[in-house]
Point group: C2
Chain length 855, copies 2
Amino acid sequence: MESVGKSFVRVDARGKVTGEAKYANDLMPKDCLQAKVVRSTIANGVVKSIDISEAEKVPGVVKIVTCFDVPDIQFPTAGHPWSVEAAHQDVPDRKLLNTRVRQWGDDIAAVVAVDNVAAERAASLIRVEYEEYDPIVTVEEALAPGATPLHPDIRKDNIFVHTSFRTSPDFDYDKAKERAIEEYGEENLIEVEGVYRTPRISHCHIEVCTSWAYVDTNGKVTVISSTQIPHITRRVIGQALGWPIGKVRVIKPYIGGGFGNKQDVLYEPLNAYLSIVCGGRPVCLELSREECISQTRTRHACKGVLRGLATKDGKLLAREGDIYTNKGAYASHGHAITGGITTNFKDIMHDEYGCRSDGYSVYTSSAVSGAMRAYGVPQAAFLADSLTDDICYAGGFDPLKFRMENCVPPGFVASNGITYYSYSLKECMKRGAEFIHWDEKRREYANQTGPIRRGVGMGIFMYKVGVYPISLETSSARMILNQDGSIQVELSATEIGQGADTVFSQMASETTGITMDKVYIISTQDTDVAPFDTGAYASRQSFVTGKAVKKCALELRARILDYASYMLNRPAEELMIWRNNICEKIHTGDPVPERPARDQAEEKPAEQNTKKLALGGSYIDNSRNDGSVGESAKYSAWLDGKVKEYDIHDLPNGEAAILRDTGVEKDIQPGEVLLSMEELAMNAFYSLDRSEHITAEVTNQCKENTFASGCCFVDIEVDMPLGKVKVNNIINVHDSGTLLNPKLAEAQVHGGMSMGIGYALTEEILYNEKGRPLNANLLDFKIPTAMDVPDYHVEFLEMDDPMGPYGNKALGEPPAIPVAPAIRNAILHATGVSMKEIPMTQQKLVAAFKEAGLI
Amino acid sequence: MESVGKSFVRVDARGKVTGEAKYANDLMPKDCLQAKVVRSTIANGVVKSIDISEAEKVPGVVKIVTCFDVPDIQFPTAGHPWSVEAAHQDVPDRKLLNTRVRQWGDDIAAVVAVDNVAAERAASLIRVEYEEYDPIVTVEEALAPGATPLHPDIRKDNIFVHTSFRTSPDFDYDKAKERAIEEYGEENLIEVEGVYRTPRISHCHIEVCTSWAYVDTNGKVTVISSTQIPHITRRVIGQALGWPIGKVRVIKPYIGGGFGNKQDVLYEPLNAYLSIVCGGRPVCLELSREECISQTRTRHACKGVLRGLATKDGKLLAREGDIYTNKGAYASHGHAITGGITTNFKDIMHDEYGCRSDGYSVYTSSAVSGAMRAYGVPQAAFLADSLTDDICYAGGFDPLKFRMENCVPPGFVASNGITYYSYSLKECMKRGAEFIHWDEKRREYANQTGPIRRGVGMGIFMYKVGVYPISLETSSARMILNQDGSIQVELSATEIGQGADTVFSQMASETTGITMDKVYIISTQDTDVAPFDTGAYASRQSFVTGKAVKKCALELRARILDYASYMLNRPAEELMIWRNNICEKIHTGDPVPERPARDQAEEKPAEQNTKKLALGGSYIDNSRNDGSVGESAKYSAWLDGKVKEYDIHDLPNGEAAILRDTGVEKDIQPGEVLLSMEELAMNAFYSLDRSEHITAEVTNQCKENTFASGCCFVDIEVDMPLGKVKVNNIINVHDSGTLLNPKLAEAQVHGGMSMGIGYALTEEILYNEKGRPLNANLLDFKIPTAMDVPDYHVEFLEMDDPMGPYGNKALGEPPAIPVAPAIRNAILHATGVSMKEIPMTQQKLVAAFKEAGLI
C-alpha cells in the first residue's frame, strides 16, 4: 500500500506543537460575555426560592437566569445517534437548569456578565432556599428500601434499567452447578465468589469543557464547542431549546482531548440559551477543572457480585454476576454502558455450561456517569479477569494456560451476531507471555519471602469496533478536487487528539492515488456544511468513517478517471491514478474480474439475511459465519475494485486463525504516465467545453462489525509495608487489524496504558457523607505523570480484517482495558492477596496486606 | 410561483442593520500584525535603492520587505476565469512589489508592525532613490511619439491591445458615405462628428479594500478578504507566490460593496506573502480610502472620436469610432472592457450601411482601470447616445422617434451569436416616454429663454447577461438537508450587497418546495469547501449561478423524492414537495410528457451546433435562431420537469416580442399530504435500514446568454449662470425578465441611478502634471448624497426569458448605464449645447454656456 500503513507525521503536529492550532476559546470575539453556573450546595432536594437581588447589583452583570425561568423541556444528553422509534430514544431527564436538585453542584441558575470576575462575584451573592433530602451517593443507598426516587417521573425507584443476559435462555448458575456436581463430583470442582468493585473516575482531558455561543445574522444559534460530537450536539441543542435543528449550528475546532466526556452534550444547550436571552450576544461558558471533574461525566463506578465454577483440571464451567453501576444524577448514556458491561463480562471466556449476568443502572445523587474510553469494557474486564485469576489461584492453574484453554475460540460469534473475523486472541497472549518471560517469572516468583515481592499478571480483552448492530452506524464524507490536483477531505468524525485526521488523510490518499502531501483534511467541523457523521466515539472512526472515506475516495477517483477518459479519449477502465498522475493500468497477471468503481460506490448494501455483507464500496463473501471455523474457510473481498482472497489457515492447533492477503492485488501496476492530476484538474475547472468542479459526497451506512482483541502483561514489584506497586515491565499486545499508521498506533497504546495504570492504582473521585466531592481537582485526584510510569512496550498482530475498510479494526479505546486487571493479578501472584477493588491505593493495599498477615 | 417573484425581506437584513454581520476585519484576531504599503512618490521611473535602516529602528516593526526582496514572478490580477490556453490568459504584468514604478503611489515596499502607528511611522522613514521618467498620465501622452513604453517586456509601445470591429468585413465609413451621397444626395444627409469623453471614476464602495492573512496549521496560506471573487483570488495568490493553488485558502465574509473593484485581485497576494515572511503570523493589510481611490482600480476613462451619418428623414446610415481607453499602469482586466466598449458602441442601433469601431487600450502612468458596474457599457452608451442625440439635434429629429426607428429590431443576434430572446427595447422606451410625458415636454420646452431652462432627454442600452461565449461560465452549487427539513445552500457566487443570497434562497425554495424560512444560505465563502464558482461580476449571478442553483435543487428534490418513495412505497413520479410536505402529485389537465427529474439534472449539455441548448436541468428548443423573427415562432422549454410553451407574439407593428408562458405548468397541483419534510429528514438521518445524509452538488456550465435592455428618461432644469443641473423627474425602465424579488430589484435600480447621476455631473479622478492624484478622497471626489438626488421612478417589463433559469435576466449592472446620456441629452434639449464630456461639472457647463453665448 502507498499511504496506509506508513508512519506519516500527524497532519496537525505542527499546529499543535507551535501553539498555532486554534481551540474553541481562541476563537472567542473580544466582546464575548462570560457565564458562570450557580450550583446547588446540597446533593438532594428541591430549590424553593432563589434571591438574585444582591447579585443583580454587581457591576457588569448582564443577565441572571434561574431554574424557574428556563423552558419546561426535558432533554437527553447522550452522544448517541438519535432513534426515530420512541422506545429506543435516549431518556430526557434534565432541564437546562433544575429545581429538583439531584447532585451536589447541580445547575440551578446562571449568571452572564462582562467578565468572569463579575460573573463569579454575582454567583456568590445568589441566595437559595432548599428543601433538603438525604444524599444518596452509593448504589446501596439508592437501592435501600425507602430511598427517595431521584426521577419519580421516569422511574418509581432508582433503578434506571435492569437487563439480563444469559448464554442460553434457560441457563441458571445453580442448576449448572448441580449438573457439574453430578458430572464431575463436588470434590473435582473449584468455585469462587466475591464482590468486585471499580471506581468512579474522571477523564482528565487537557482542555476543560468550554463553549461559546451567539445568534448569527440568519437567526441560527451558533455554538463553538470543545466537543467530540458536533452533529449530535446540534440535535440536542435543538431538542433542549425546542428549536428546529436547522436553526442550530455547531462548530468544533481542535479540541484538547475528550476521552468520552465530550461524547456527551454538556453545557452547550445552556450556553445557547444564555446567548439567546442576552439578545444573541456572544456568551462563553467555560468550566473550571473542578467543575469538569465533579459536574460533567465520569466513568461508571461498578460493583459485581460474581461467582465462577471450574473443574479441578482447569475447565471453566459457569459464571454469573449481578452488576450494579452508579449512574449518578442523570441518565446521560442511559443503560448502554451498563448493558455493555453485562455482556462483556461474559464475552471473552467460554463457559462450558453457560453464563448469566444481570446489569443494573442505578440513579444516585452524585456525579453523572457517562462515556469514557472503552465504554464499560474496562469495568467488565476487571470483573471477569479478576474472577478468572481468583479461580486460577484457588485451583492452582496457570492463568495463561487457563485463558488459552477457556477463552473464546476462532470463529466466535457474539450473541448479537458480531463475528470475530480475524481471530488473534491466543496469538496475542503468546506474544505477551514471551515478552514478559511468563513461564520463567511464574517459577522465579513462586516462593518469595520478605516485604518486597514480585509478580507477573495478565489481562485480556475483546472489543467491538463500532456500535452496530446495537445502534445506527452512519457516516458521510465529501472530497473536493483543487486546481493543482490536491484535494480537501471533509468529514464530521472528529479529530480529538487520537490522530483521526492523519489516518483519514492516509486512507483518502491510498484510494485516490493522490499523495499525502496533497491531501488536506478539514479539521474543523461546521454542522452547516460538514457531511453528517455522529462523531468520535467507540473505536468507530477508522472503521466506520473509514468506510465512508474509502467509498467517497472511490467515487472521486471514478469521477476523475471519467474526466481523464474524456480528455484522453480512452475508456476509464484502462486508466488509474498513481502518485498524482493518470497512468495506463497494466495487468501483470491473469485478468481480474472487476467491477467499475462508480457502480461499486453506488451499490446499495445487500440484505442482512444473505451472506453478502457490504463494505464501503466493496464486498465480502463470508462463506462461513455460523460460528464454527473450518481448516481453510475462504474469504474473498472486493477491495479497491480488485478481488482479494483470504484463507483462514495457520490453524494447526487452533491457536490462531490469521487471514492473509493472497496477493491478487499486486496484479495491477501503473504503466505510462498520460496526464498529471494538475493538468486534469485545471482542465476540469476551466474547460470551455466541459467545465466541472469534481467533488464527491457519499453516505455509508455501516452494517458490519468485528472484534479487536489483545492483552496486557506486567511484571511488578510490591513494597508491602509501603503499599507501593512498581511496574517493572509492561507490554500491551494488540490485534487491531492492519495498522494505518504504526507510530500513531503505538502512541495511542501508550496513552491507554497510562490510563490503565492510573485506573489500577490511584484514581477515584471521593465523596463525603453529604454527597460533596472531596477531591475534584488534579492535586487530589491523582493521575499518573511521566514520573510515575515505566517504559511502555507494545506489539501488534497485523491481521487484515475483511470487515475493515483497509483491513483495520479498533485501536482507540482498547489499550486502556487490560492494564488494571493485569496489575491486580500480578499483585495476587506476588502476594497471594486477591484485591477486590481498584484503585489499589497504598492505603488499601497496606490494609489488605495487614489483614492477610503479610505485614 | 411560490417563492420567486415575491418581495421577501433580504436574508441578511437583520445582520446588516443591527451591525452584527461580520466583515473581514471583524474576524481579525487580537494579535494581528498590521501592514502598510510604501508607495512611490513619482509616477514613472525606476527604484534605484531603498534604505530601510531608520525604519527598522521604529519600535514594533516586525518586518520590512522591498521590491528587491519579492519573488521574481509576474502575475495577472483580472477577476476572470482562467484559461488553459496561453493565448487567452490574462496578462501577468506586475510583481508583488515593483522596482519599475508605473504610477504615483506604486507599491515598492511594505512594512509589517504590531500596529498601524508603528507601521506608518516606519513607512515614512524609508528613503528611496529613483531614476525618474516623465509622467504619462493621458492617452495622448502615452501615444505621443517617443513616449517611454511602460511595459517594454510586454508591448513595445503603450498600446496594450487594439481591436477592430466592423458590421461586415469590408465596411468602410468613407465608402459608405460615398454610397449615401450617391443614393440620397449630399443635401439629404446629416453628418455629425465629435470627440466625446468619459472620466476615470472610483467605485466608492462603503467598505475599504482590506484583507488579513495567516498560514494555517496545515501549511495553507489563508486570506480573509473583502472580495467579490474568492476562488479567483485563491488562484491568483497561488500564481503570484508560485505556490500550488491547493495550498491557498480564501475566505470571503460579508463585504461592504465592490462594484467591480473587488472583482480584481488587489492586495491579497502581497498580504499572503507578508504573512509568510512573518512566519505565518496573522497580518492585516487594510487600505485607506485615499489608497482605495488612487491605488486600486477605476472605471476606464474613455475618448471616442466619432462620426455618424443619417438621412434627413431620419434613417441612420453609418457610424464609426476610434475609441481610446486609459488603462493606467497595469493590465488588470486587459482589453476585455475596451473590447466591450468597441462592440457595445455599435450594438443598440442599427446602421443601414454598417458601423466600424476600433478600440485601443492604452497603458499610462496613472491609476489602473478595471472592472466597474456595467463593465464598459456606460462609456459605450455615453458615446453612442450622445452621437445619436447630436445627429437628431442636427437633423431636427425627435430622439425618441429616431431611436424607435433605428434601434435593433426584435430577434437581434449580436456578432458573437448572442440572441436577444425576450425583446423589449421599444416597449421600454414607450413606457419611459409615457411616464416623462415626452411629447408634451418636447413641445413645452421648445422655445425657452432666460437663464434657467428645462429639457427632457433619454438614454437606452442593451446588456449581455453573462460573459458566454467570450469567456467560461461555470458555476457549482451544493445543498444540504437538515433534520428538520430545512436546507443549507452553499455557493461561491458571492453576496456583495446586491441581494444575491436572498434571490438564491428564493430559487432554492421555489424548486425544492421548501419554504423560504427553511432555506439557509451560507453567506461566507471558504474556498476549501465551497463549490467552485467564479464569483460576483457581470450580471451573471442570478442567470448563471441561478441555473446551478436550479439544477442542484432539482437534484436535491429528486433525492428527497427518492427517499420519500422508499418510505411510502410509491413511485417518486407520483410525489411532489409542496410547502415542506411530500404530497401526491395531481395532474389537473392533460397528461404532460415528463422526464424524471434526476435524469434531467444529470443530462449533459447538448452539442453546440444543434438547435438544442441546455439550460440548468431543462431544455430549450429554439426553433429559430437565425436572427430573423417570425410572427409566431414557438419556444418550448423543459422547466421544473414540465413542458412550458412560449409564443413570440404581440408583434403587430414589430414593437415588442413578448414571450408568454402558455400555462402548461399549472396543470400540476399538490394533492394529499403524505409526509412532512421533517419526518422524512429524521428518517433519512437515523434510519437503521437506510440512513442517508441527503445532499446534492452539481456543476452547471452555462453555454447560453441573452440580452437585457432598458432606458432612462429625465426631465431636468439647468441654471445656466450657476452651471447647475437639477433633475426634476427621472425614470428607468428595465426589461430584466421575470423579477426574482421586485423590491430588491427596485432598490438595485435606485442605486444604479445614483451612480449614473454622479457619473453625469460630478465624479472624476483628477491628476496634476506630475501624475499625482489631486482628489483621491471623498471630500474632493464627489459622489451624490441623498441630498443631491431626486425621487427615483422605476418600471419593469416582466418578460419570461427562456434562457433564464426562472425567466430572469440581468439587472445588477444595467441601471447605471443610461442615466448619464439621458441627462447629457436633456441638457442639449434644454440649451442646445452639446456637451462632449462628462462629468458635466458646474465649471464645465458654465464654460460651455459662455462659449455658446448663452450667459
